[in-house]
């Protein structure tokens, strides 16, 4: 398998990249980590006339703590985020989620922003960004726009990116310091795309009921999902057995009828979604208690 012929260019300045993108629009693919694009080229599922390699654009290489969120620039590797002290200390769920992406060899090249732009519904980062209500910064020669994750992901491998646009940054909101969090996924083999994955960030109130919940799913629908129905089922509660069971039941029904493939039937995915919802909610809520204990 060899990639088809294309014209290659590696600009060093963002404005140049945007100008080139604008010039070639539909015929153009952006190359960052290449861990999704190159397989697609190898299998001839993608056949762009032009490839713009953004890896040399230094201004897109940053991980920064901002007011309200962690900003990750377009050329930052997944492994760099995984190992960044700032992320280890202040955004533990981002680190946990990244550790589940592919293998170390993939994360050494694959970028955080690239995974978001590729928008695989079974991928970890799109689900996390959706769950946390994060944002995507999209640039073009016309300027910049900011989209919420739920506006950005529009369907299976589909996003709101228009021809001529480039995702330059994604923003992962911070969790509240007292929040408990957990991420669990079920994959047949280490590094495989998960059959089902659940992310939960639960913030307790002073009276120790759940005051805020962010619950996200991967692998259960055509796009990453934030499950407000599940969130509503647990907000105000103390996550007793009955509440968690009810939440799991609601979650199972979110699995869409078309999620049937060689790896799992819809019924199996629903059973997994139910069980993993229970485990994730319990693990997240328990972590909240640990924090309280150490505070």
């Amino acid at each position: 398998m060899k990639p088809p012929r294309f014209q290659y260019c590696a600009p060093r300045v963002l404005d140049e990249a945007l100008a080139l993108l604008d010039l070639h629009k539909d015929d153009c693919k952006v190359l960052a980590g290449g861990q999704s694009l190159i397989p697609l080229l190898n299998m001839r599922l993608a056949n762009p006339a032009y490839v713009i390699d953004i890896n040399h654009i230094a201004e897109l290489h940053y991980i920064e703590a901002e007011d309200g969120y962690l900003a990750v620039g377009a050329t930052v590797r997944q492994r760099q985020v995984e190992h960044a002290l700032l992320v280890q200390e202040q955004h533990p769920i981002l680190r946990e989620v990244i550790k589940h992406i592919g293998h170390m060899q993939i994360r050494n090249r694959g970028t955080v922003v690239g995974s978001i732009a590729h928008a695989d519904p079974a991928a970890e980062l799109p689900a996390l960004l959706t769950c946390l209500n994060g944002e995507v910064i999209i640039a073009s020669v016309q300027g910049e726009r900011v989209l919420k994750a739920e506006e950005f992901f529009t369907g299976y491998l589909s996003t709101a990116i228009e021809p001529g646009e480039l995702v330059t940054e994604v923003r992962f909101p911070w969790m509240a310091p007292q929040a408990g969090w957990a991420f669990l996924e079920c994959a047949r083999r280490s590094g495989d795309y998960a059959l089902v994955g659940v992310i939960a960030v639960l913030t307790p109130a002073l009276n120790d009921t759940c005051m805020d919940a962010h619950i996200g799913y991967l692998g259960i629908a055509g796009q990453p999902l934030r499950a407000r129905a599940v969130e509503n089922a647990i907000i105000g509660s103390r996550l007793d057995e009955q509440v968690v069971s009810r939440a799991a039941e609601i979650a199972a029904n979110l699995v869409t009828d078309d999620m049937e493939d060689v790896h799992a039937t819809v019924a199996y995915r629903r059973a997994l979604t139910s069980e993993y919802t229970k485990r994730t909610l319990k693990a997240a809520w328990e972590r909240r208690e640990q924090r309280k204990g150490t505070a």
Partner: protein, 174 residues
Amino acid sequence: MQEHNLFPTFSEESLIALTVNGSHYEKLVPARLLLSDFLRHDLRLTGTHVGCEHGVCGCCTVLLNGEAVRACLMLAVQADGMAITTIEGMAGTNSELHPIQQAFLEKHGLQCGFCTPGIIISVHAMLHENPDPTEEEIRHGLSGNLCRCTGYQNIVEAVKLAAERLRAAQKEED
């Protein structure tokens, strides 16, 4: 295109300069050439094996500036200015085996050998980062490389032995 004269231009081939196993190379390569094919066809370094060519099997794993990556998921043009180590660069100058290779030999950590170059490279990266891994960490570290012969038991044993020897050698150096 006149107004974009100052801009970088697109082309179907590029001149790249890189270091592979300590040797410097300058080559004109097509944009679509994979790093794995560049190493095998252009440099005749056929120790880097090509299995699935979409990043699953791990046979083509090489070190890129010290980090383990899939050579089939990179274009050769992207390696411009970089330092690469392939399996051919692992043995010493007198062609004595690298301690990891020696451990695989002694522990019978291979059968057909197709996956071995990628595994040796991955193990090299793993032990560089974590010189004293637990068995679980070893298995996790090997999870990006498929072996269809061994059942992994002897590979894990080989990694344990290699880690032990590398630690001992490091201690002596200190």
